[in-house]
Amino acid sequence: MKIKKGFELKKVCGENIIIAHGVENIDFTKVITLNESAAFLWEKVIDNDFTEDSLVHFLLDEYEVDQTQAADDVKQLVSSWKESGLVE
């Protein structure tokens, strides 16, 4: 899977906000924000194809977390990215 074209992660007031480029109206009344680790993963895969496994791999490299926890977290994250229409 990959992140759909046109989505950009922007730091606005200390928050990692997803902005849809090419979209005429940027609606700050409904924003998607990512926490630090989700933002980290986003930056890692923004221009590439990825799998849940590759995300787990990045997490394990960067953070002190065990495999199971990382896998669970990634599952949840990818599910919410899909739900928000960010990923194809």
Partner: protein, 158 residues
């Protein structure tokens, strides 16, 4: 879903930057200064670039560094713009055209979108409301009473 609150001083310059890049930007209205049309927390303001500023427009201006207001243009003379919030009785802001950062191009009021350039309702309201200024204080008090069940402050001390 969580609510994210950010300081105007930090957020609005970023909003202005996006507007200057050609986007429209929507935020939730904060404060009572544009009552009765725009209500705090309920309605939304959609900002866009401004080309020309006219009396009656609602503009976002940075009156001093980091301090923004978003009110209706009441007067333009000698290179200075005077704005007054629709929901304000006293108090105007006076600044130069170069202080304007963006213009409100649409308002979402009670989930209905009004394009300020074309909406007949907005145009009528914009024509009439400023003219009612001599009785604005009383109209706003009635508005607060009816819609917010708020008595004037001095009454509650009796």
């Amino acid at each position: 879903m969580n609510k994210l609150s950010v300081d105007n001083k930090v957020f609005l310059p970023q909003l202005v930057q996006l507007v200057n890049e050609g986007h429209l930007a929507t935020i939730i209205a904060k404060g009572n200064s544009m009552r009765p049309f725009v209500e705090d927390g309920r309605d939304k303001l959609i900002f866009g670039q401004y080309d020309e500023i006219r009396v009656g427009d609602v503009v976002l201006a940075e009156v001093t560094e980091g301090h923004f207001v978003c009110h209706r243009v009441e007067k333009m003379e000698k290179g200075l713009i005077t704005t007054r919030g629709d929901g304000n009785v006293t108090g105007t802001e006076i600044f130069e055209a170069s202080n304007v950062r963006a213009k409100v191009v649409k308002i979402v009021r009670k989930d209905r979108t009004y394009d300020l350039a074309t909406s007949k309702i907005w145009k009528c309201y914009s024509l009439i409301w400023p003219k009612l200024y001599p009785v604005r204080r009383y109209l706003l008090a009635i508005y607060r009473l009816l819609w917010h069940h708020q008595l004037p402050q001095r009454w509650s001390n009796r």
